[in-house]
């Protein structure tokens, strides 16, 4: 391939973001604390500019570049725009929280953008190597973010756990990748797929590789039994970091699962042994649904409760994935995007309610929110009902599309399992709604959220309703993206 600048055009979003990170990193050095808002503003501008770059440089057909290491297709575009948008929400929620705790430093936004860059690379990875690079960039930024409040013991503990377990999972993933490389001789997904399809590869080696790779994916998603890190990290990290960590990376994890499982190892599907990787996902999904929903019932810490709720939502995403091509992948994609948007709102509201020196993280901190601020309570209610999957919020459609995919794939019993656990799940979301609407407030302190955060949470909550009433807009995008793979 001849090199000229125009061949790099599909990389424009990453180039824009990386340049912006570099500039902001330097600019931030010369700002004193009072002018730190520039960093904040510039970071938001950088994310918006990256979204614009994704839209401007897109093309109708998928493009592979960098010698098959990188791909730009409709799925990557949709996922990138989603993760950038959700990232913007997380950044906005973070501002006043960080400011009040003396943590308003440029590093938060730099690390956040680095993580986003890593995720963009994961989303666009066309081979194991670039995927792994993106993953590590994401993971390292997240480890640092979790420990961002260096005076917080629980934060440091969470970061340590996350780091050790994350490193272990990365190791597993690498080990699996090496086996697949050994079995197929290829590192790019298209090549792996071809080698698997040829049938001349050693199935045993591939199966071992698959298992280890799947463990890596399950860890990133936080699926049972690789979920142990999630509750501790969600609870220990500052809530604004949890908002980021609990939402955006799920989109990247979805991309990772799609690229590796559907594109690379699609040939190791049901016909190779007990249901192939779909069978493994089935076990992970049912376990995640059961454990996530049941353990969440008894949590009083909302961050921890939402961690378990995330685990159960991952179960749903896996159900979509294992329902496979046709409706399955697009339903899982829809679910992931909507989940990220919902989760960032849930944590964002906790960030808004946290004041200087007071963390809003227990259910009783939300008591009587309807009396303190009816609007915020309404937004939170929309978010919670969306998580529970009650129409007219979008969470219902996310679940519906997955159920439909399952029924289409002839897995009616899994659909029944899924709805059964979502009824159990509804209870703990109702507990929070109950605290907000039916209980008397404990504290009457005014809510001191900035205008930016208030606008963000309003958009976030109303998005639940908007996509619930007009789900077609996003669904069509997801379907088109999956079809073009």
């Amino acid at each position: 391939m001849e090199y000229n600048a125009s061949t790099l055009l599909p990389l424009l979003p990453e180039i824009v973001l990386l340049s912006a990170i570099a500039v902001i990193l330097i600019v931030d050095l010369f700002l004193d604390q009072a002018k730190r808002f520039f960093t904040y503003g510039l970071s938001l501008a950088a994310l918006v500019a990256t979204i614009a770059a994704v839209m401007a440089s897109g093309s109708d057909h998928s493009q592979t570049l960098m010698y098959g290491a990188y791909v730009r297709d409709a799925m990557s575009d949709v996922l990138k725009i989603s993760l950038l948008s959700v990232g913007i929400f997380a950044f906005v929620y973070a501002r006043s929280y960080l400011l009040e705790r003396g943590l308003f430093k440029g590093e938060f936004y730099i690390l956040g953008m680095m993580a986003i860059l890593g995720m963009m690379i994961m989303v666009s990875a066309a081979g194991f190597l670039s995927l792994y690079l993106g993953l590590e960039l994401l993971a390292l930024s997240l480890y640092a973010l979790v420990a961002f409040d260096n005076k917080s013991k629980s934060g440091s503990e969470a970061a340590m756990k996350y780091f050790v377990l994350g490193a272990l999972a990365s190791g597993m993933l690498l080990y699996g990748i090496s086996m697949i490389y050994g079995g197929t001789g290829m590192l790019d997904f298209a090549g792996v797929a071809k080698a698997v399809a040829s049938g001349e590869t050693d199935k045993t080696v591939l199966t071992f590789g698959l298992v280890f790779v799947l463990i890596g994916i399950a860890f990133k998603f936080g699926a049972v039994p690789f979920h142990m890190w999630a509750p501790d990290v969600y609870q220990g990290a500052p809530v604004v970091v949890t908002a980021f960590l609990g939402s955006v990376p799920k989109i990247a994890a979805f991309a990772m699962a799609m690229r590796i499982l559907a594109q690379g190892l699609g040939g190791l599907g049901p016909d190779m042994g007990w249901e192939g990787w779909q069978g493994m996902l089935m076990i992970l999904a049912v376990l995640s649904l059961a454990l996530g929903n049941i353990v969440a019932l008894v949590q009083d810490n909302i961050k921890r409760m939402l961690a378990y709720s995330t685990i159960s939502h991952v179960g749903f995403i896996f159900l979509g994935l294992l329902a496979g091509a046709g409706k399955g992948y697009s339903s899982a994609m829809f679910y992931t995007i909507i989940y990220a948007l919902t989760a960032v709102g849930g944590f964002g509201l906790l960030a808004i309610l946290s004041r200087k020196g007071v963390e809003a993280e227990y259910i009783h901190d939300l008591k009587g929110l309807n009396q303190r601020s009816p609007w915020l309570a309404l937004m939170m209610m929309l978010i919670l009902f969306s998580m529970a999957g009650v129409p007219p919020t979008v969470g219902f459609f996310a679940k519906l599309f997955v159920l439909d995919a399952l029924v289409n794939a002839g897995m009616l019993w899994l659909a029944l399992v899924a709805v059964f656990f979502s009824v159990i799940g509804a209870y703990y979301y109702l507990r929070v709604v109950k605290a907000m609407y039916f209980d008397k407030p404990i504290s009457q302190a005014a809510i001191t959220a900035g205008t930016d955060a208030r606008i963000a949470i309003s958009l976030n909550g109303l998005a639940m309703l908007y996509y619930g009433i007009f789900p077609a807009s996003l669904l069509t995008l997801c379907q088109a993206a999956i079809q073009s793979l």
Binding site: P391, F397, L400, Y427, A472
Partner: protein, 504 residues
């Protein structure tokens, strides 16, 4: 016939948007939100009147249809329309909502704008349930109904409201998710979400039975039928008066409506196979729950149990059809059962609303629902006593009131199926009279029970307006049910003919 303008959409979205407006009007000037809510409710009712006047009773086809694509890639449409079964229920909804708004005028002092908004949004959503012809649209409205009701009971309810409302939510949610799976399954089979398309969808017997049971899980909880009725007394007791009225008058009807729109026409063979189950559950509701009502000490609980017993008549009427059709000695009469069930639904909508409003009138003054706290109310509240006795008579099924018509039709139909069914159903005329009149005796008649009763004020103009309009409705339907029966006739005949044909 189709309307020149989207009348059904107007009836759905006007109250929803009006409700949001009321919500944003806030609580700084509560009277503004009250008047605004009343205006929206009245306007909605006025808009819904053309549904009746412009209705073509000679056809079973859907009328006032609207159909635009909603989620195209999923083949889900925003498809609305009414027939003779759903149209009366929509009018019932818009009518009762006005009364609920008026009834909550003064009583609700805590966040009245949210209260009014919840009821208006609820109204729009319930009309949506009755008008939806797309299964997904139906389900969205069906579930969306839960949220305002959950808040109404939880925010404005009695002391044990949190338990009651969470129980209510989870019970109904559990019931409906299985219906969702059934709907998705039929979507997979038929390739569309059209309810009318489901009616003609060929299904094997096993499939039908599973789908029927999934529907039963949703509708039986909503009706509610014995043995899944236990959420209702809790919810009723704890709900504010308005909430009880909506719950009894309309939400319970949605379960009955579901049987007519989904279970019977979609799974006729399973319905015919399992009709013994529904008939047994209905008769247990009529007889056993009637006895349970007899021993209640709490007025609202008593009326709640009486609602369950009366709804037993509805389901009995719907499912007796198969036995009548199977009985070689009778040629006609199958239609009578369904008609009776429908009349009973509308009539119960009026009567139960009136009964709960009567209890509300007393509760607002004494803050007690215990029968034992009352006695001799007639001495201090003669006008109120007249209303209460009248509605109690209607509840007991006195000829001349609407309560009589439905029960009589169902009992008559049961005779054609089996004497003993009719016999058991007819015991309600005794048990129902016993529990209702005994309550009235203890509350209304006798000597003045205590000082608080002695200090009671009679009903004010607002309450007279509410109770008076219900009196008229009960009398009108009782003396001259013909118009209602006529409107439903074509649709019900069509339904009965449809289910007589096996899908196997």
């Amino acid at each position: 016939m189709s309307a020149d303008w989207p009348i059904l959409s107007a009836i759905i979205w006007l109250p929803v948007l009006g409700g949001l407006l009321v919500l944003f009007s806030g609580d700084k000037a509560p009277n503004v939100s009250r008047w605004l809510a009343l205006a929206v409710a009245v306007l909605t009712f006025l808009i819904s009147i053309p549904l009746w006047t412009g209705f073509d009773a000679s056809t079973a086809a859907m009328q006032f249809e609207e159909n635009i694509p909603w989620i195209e890639s999923f083949k889900v449409n925003y498809h609305l329309g009414v027939d003779g079964i759903s149209m009366p229920l929509i009018l019932l909804t818009t009518f009762i909502t006005i009364l609920v708004v008026i009834a909550g005028w003064q009583v609700i002092q805590y966040k009245p704008s949210q209260y009014m908004a919840a009821f208006l949004i609820m109204e729009g959503v319930m009309v949506g349930v009755f008008a939806a012809l797309d299964a997904m649209l139906f389900y969205v409205f069906w579930e969306a109904m839960l949220i305002p009701m959950f808040l109404i009971i939880g925010i404005w309810g009695g002391p044990n409201r949190v338990y009651a409302t969470i129980k209510f939510f989870l019970y109904t949610f559990l019931g409906s998710v299985f219906m969702l799976v059934a709907l998705v399954y039929m979507y997979f089979q038929s390739g569309s979400m059209e309810i009318l398309g489901f009616h003609t969808l060929k299904l094997g017997l096993t499939e039908q039975i599973l789908i029927f049971l999934a529907f039963l899980a949703a509708f039986a909880v909503k009706v509610p039928m014995w043995p899944v009725h236990t959420w209702l007394p809790d919810a009723h007791v704890e709900a504010p008066t308005g909430g009880s009225v909506i719950l009894a008058a309309i939400m319970l009807k949605i379960g009955g409506y579901g049987f007519l729109r989904f279970s019977l026409p979609i799974t006729p063979d399973a319905s015919s196979h399992l009709d013994w189950l529904i008939i047994a559950m209905s008769l247990i509701a009529v007889v056993y729950i009637g006895f349970v009502a007899l021993v209640q000490k709490d007025m609202k609980k008593l009326i709640a149990y009486s609602s369950i017993a009366h709804m037993g008549f509805v389901t009995l009427g719907f499912f007796i059809v198969f036995m009548i059709a199977a009985n070689p000695e009778v040629q006609t009469g199958a239609i009578l059962g369904v008609q009776g069930g429908m009349v009973q639904m509308v009539s119960h909508g009026f009567i139960s609303a009136a009964m709960f409003l009567c209890v509300g009138v007393l509760y607002d003054r004494m803050h007690s629902r215990e029968i034992a706290d009352y006695g001799g109310v007639v001495n201090t509240m003669p006008w109120f006593a007249a209303f209460m006795v009248f509605f109690a008579m209607a509840n007991a099924g006195l000829p001349g009131t609407s309560g009589f018509v439905g029960e009589f039709m169902v009992i008559l139909a049961s005779f054609r199926a089996d004497f003993w069914f009719a016999f058991l159903a007819a015991t309600t005329l005794i048990i129902g009279a016993a529990y209702t009149l005994w309550m009235v005796k203890r509350v209304v008649f006798g000597d003045v029970g205590n000082d608080r009763v002695a200090a009671l004020q009679d009903v004010n103009k607002r309450e007279v307006l509410v109770l008076g309009s219900l009196t008229l409705a009960v009398l009108a339907l009782g003396l001259w049910p013909e118009p209602l029966v006529k409107v439903m006739d074509a649709s019900i005949t069509n339904l009965v003919n449809h289910i007589a044909v096996s899908k196997l």
